[in-house]
Every structure is written in C-alpha cells, then in structure tokens.
C-alpha cells in the first residue's frame, strides 16, 4: 500500500515535469514577449529588463534555471505584477479557488446524487423524465450563459444575491451554483445508471423482504452501491471544476487562480502561466490518486498495483 502510493507519487512528479516542459516550450513559441507595449521600450531599457529576469540567456539555460528553481519550490517572479513572486500570488489566489471549488463540489454531489436516485428509483415515470431533462440542460448550458442569467435574474432583477465580487459567504452562492451545474448533471446520470444496475438484484429484494423501510433500502442498499460509479468520475469531475473556474471567476470577478491565468497568457507572464498550470496539474494528479485509493477502500475486490493497473 505505502509502496503503491510512493510509486504513484513518483509517477506524478514525472507527469508534472512533462507538463512543465510542454508548457514552457509552448510559452516560448508564443508570438510577442512579456515586455511588448503599445509604446515600444528603448532597446537599452528592454535589455536591462530582460537581463533582470534572466531572459537574455539561451532558452535552454532559462529552462534549466526554471527547473532548478522549481525543485527548490521557487516559481519565479511575476513579470506583470512587479515585485510579487508567482508563489505569493498563488498563495493568495489558491484558497479562493479551492473554497469556491469545494462548495461547488458539495453542491454538485448533493444535487446530482439526489436527482440520480430519484430518477433511478422511478424509472420510466415522470420524475425520471424530469430529472433526465434537468441533467441534459445542466450539461448543455455553458457556464458563462448560466452565470450571466443568474446574475441578471437573481442578482440584478430580484436582488437576492450580490452580482459580483468576493466579499463573504453570500458572494459565493451564485458562482458556486454556476460552477456546479455541469458536474451535477454528470453525477446525476452516473447515479441513475448505478441505481439501475443494482435495483433488480437479489440482495435488494432480500432487504425489502426483511421488512426494511423503503427509505432505508434506498439509502443503505441501493445508493451505497450505486455510488461506486460516481467515485470513478471524481477525477474528471475535478478537471471540469478547474476548467469551469476559469470562466466563473472571470464572470463574477473573483480573485482566484483561473482569472490570473487568462490575463497572464495575454500578458505573456511566463512564470505565472507556468505556476498556475503546474498547480492545476498537481491537483489532477493528486485527485486521481485519491480516487484510486477511495475506490479500493469502497470496493475491496479491487487490488491496487496488481497486474491490472
């Protein structure tokens, strides 16, 4: 077990190195540089600035220096936010993104699982159709559309929630709902499929025959086993939340990592783009590991690190 986790973590480091290399290469292929302005800088000023950030060295040397810094936990300085390190910026932005993501994850699981359970236990009847329709809508409506509509209706017309910014729990509700919609729809579909897989099995009939209440059968017998299907989806789910946060943070003017990424790309702020990318990739790697461990714990038939990896 420990060996398995250690091995996976080591593989994760390899993946992160590859991600850093690919992103580094892509960034250097981008047209334009970090210090292109409307007003062209005098050549000697530009030379000085580039020397300060060691951009005058050959790209290979810059790459090695970056990796060296990375190993020491140094993500380099931001070009755009002068005087701030990328690590600094991420330290401020990361908790915001994670907080929003965690709230959205909770909402997605809560809504998705209940919707899927209702749909699965009423197969072919109106509640099933209604839930399926909701799920299709959830998967179809882009986050910027849902976000805009929520701001318009709940924020501006009804005035229930603040329409933008990030100044307390109330400010998190609309963005979290926006972020949660698509994953909730996927979770609902997975839960429904999982429920349908087990609902006709013998042990469910046995549970009913023992005289257990319907709600107990549903929660303890049906749902528990149906949830396995949902757990496998955790990895992609996190990716959906991360990608979604780019847009949602943009729409609601939330100072999270996703918002920095977009501006960092347009500003050619290489270290900041790399930093955000690496944090995202690390989260995905860790989440996938967590999912595999969780899965093995929930379903003891699965062996970790066996012949079938």
């Amino acid at each position: 077990m420990t060996r398995y986790v250690a091995l996976r973590l080591l593989q994760g480091v390899g993946v992160l190195w590859l991600v850093a290399t690919v992103t580094f290469a892509l960034l250097r292929l981008l047209p334009g540089g970090p210090f292109d302005r409307e007003k062209v800088l005098p050549p000697e000023v530009l030379r000085n600035v580039e020397a300060r950030y060691q951009l005058d060295a050959p790209v290979a040397v810059q790459y090695l220096r970056y990796l060296q810094g990375l190993v020491h936990g140094d993500l380099g300085p931001s070009y755009k936010y002068v005087g701030r390190d990328v690590a600094d910026i991420l330290r401020d932005a990361f908790p915001v993104s994670i907080g929003l993501g965690a709230l959205a994850l909770g909402l997605a699981l809560g809504f998705g699982v209940s919707l899927g359970l209702v749909a699965g236990t009423h197969r072919g009847r109106p509640p099933d159709h209604a839930a399926t329709l909701l799920a299709v809508l959830g998967m179809s409506v882009p986050s910027f559309v849902l976000g805009a509509l929520l701001i318009l209706v709940a924020g501006l017309w009804l005035g229930w929630f603040p329409a933008a910014l990030w100044e307390g729990p109330l400010y998190a509700i609309l963005p979290a709902l926006t972020l949660a919609a698509t994953p909730a729809a996927y979770v609902a579909r997975l839960t429904r499929a999982g429920v349908l897989d087990v609902i006709d099995l013998d042990y469910i009939r046995t549970a009913r025959a023992k005289g257990l209440s319907e709600s107990r059968v549903r929660v303890h017998h049906i749902l528990r086993n149906a949830l396995l299907a949902v757990v496998t989806y955790f990895g992609p789910l996190l990716a959906v939340l991360l990608t979604g946060s780019f847009i949602v943070e943009q729409i609601f003017a939330i100072p999270g990592m996703g918002r920095f990424f977009v501006t960092a790309v347009t500003n050619r702020d290489y270290p900041l783009v790399l930093g955000v990318t690496l944090v995202y990739a690390a989260l995905v790697v860790l989440a996938n590991l967590a999912v595999d461990l969780l899965y093995a714990w929930l379903d003891p038939r699965i062996r970790l690190g066996g012949a079938e990896r």
Binding site: L26, I151, A281
Partner: protein
Amino acid sequence: MSGAGWVGAGLLLALVTVALLGDRVSGHAFDAQDPDRALETPSLEHWMGTDALGRDLFARIAEGARVSLLVAVGATGIALALGIVYGAVSGYVGGRLDDFLMRVVDVLYSLPDLLLIILAKEVLEGVLVGVSDLVRTLVALVLALSLTSWVGVARLARGLVLQAREEAWVEAARALGARGPRVLTRHVLPNIAGPLVVTAAFRVPVAILAESTVSFIGLGVQPPFASWGVLASDGFTAMRSFPHLILFPSFAIAATLVAFHLLGDALRDALDPRRKL
C-alpha cells in the same frame, strides 16, 4: 429513434438552415452598422433587436452559428481521424508501442483542456502567416480544439479495438490470410463504428462549448466577426440595461447544445446499447 432524438434532429436542421440562409432571410448583413438604430429591442424590422453599433442581432447570431458549427465540426473531424488511427494502431499492435503511445495520451489528459486550447491557439496564430485574420483565428481554433479532443477518441478507439481483437471473426479473417492493416480497416473498424459515431455526436457540442468559451474571454474570434461566445460577451457587458443582448445568444447556444445532446443520446441508444453514459 426516440421522440427526444427527433426533437434534437429537428432543432439542428433549423440551426443549419439559419446558419446557411441567416442574413439573407433577415435582410441585414451581420456587420452592417446603423448608429441611428443602436440598442433597439426586438421589432418586425430587427427580429432580435440591434447591438451597440446598430447591427442586426439575428444576422449576427446566424453568422455566429456558421462560425461555431464550422469550427466545431472541423475540430471534431480532425480529432476523430487522428484519434481513431492512433488508438486503433495502439490497441492492435499492443506491447511496448501501446504502452508508449498511451503514456503520451495520459500526459495530454492531465493538462486542463481549456488551458491547452488557449496556449495552442495562441502559438498556432503566431505560426500561421499570409492569411486574413479571420481565417487565421478559425484555423488556429480548429487545430487547438482537435488537439485536446483527439486524446479521448484515441482512448475509446483503443479500448474498442482491444475488445474486437479477441473476437472469433478477427481470428477467422486472419486464418483466411488477411494481414494486419486489412483486418483493421476491413473487419475491425466497421464493427466498432457505432460507438465512434456516438462519440462524434457528443464531441461536436463539447467543441462548440470550448470555442464559445475561448471567444467569450476574448481570446477567440474577434469583432466585427461574430461567434456565439463573442455575442454572449458583448451581451454580458450590456445586460444590465439591455437584457435582450445576452438572452438571445444564450438561448441560441443552449438550444444547440441541448439538440446535440438529445441527438447523441438517441444515437447511443440505437448504436451502442450497452453503454449507459
């Protein structure tokens, strides 16, 4: 096909019609400005109203449909071709080659899609020279979107080929003297075509979504050209006073994506009955 499937197909037919005829039906060009009639609400003259520069919103949504569909279908086509070849070879040959090819896929998979799309699109735009701005952006978008999409297709194709490879009819074909490439193209691929068609139907809306997202944050198609993301972004800034500018583009995107999902679900039920998701 189910009722919902027909609804999806009908919606898509309507969409394609609008995309093809669009500004000819409404009688306004998508980039024709009329400052005297800016920011009007819907009327008989302008069915969906006009934007801040007095351009007809219906014509712009039709133009957006053209751009969005073109980019999404193009990207999905490339992704399918590339992914099927890659995945099929990986699964059919197996062994070390398979291991290596799949590790490459794993790494691409661990990069957040949108991030890779944005970076790749910017790089490609720098590489493409000697064409108009619109063509450059569209080609860069198509290639960038297919770059993230083919990975999933490759995984699916590999899995399907791995399953099919063990079937008795493959063995029969081999026993009759057919060689690898022939077995793959003549026997295996036709048999796994169903799930691949289904994945295509689900990938087009994903591409539409990605394109409109990139355009929404201002890194995709640039005005005066329109994509739904551009229109939604314009509408978003003006929605406080002029909600119709966000409502119509939103409805167009949502209806299109719903249509593709309904059609995809119906196709899956018909062609790939074992899969539930």
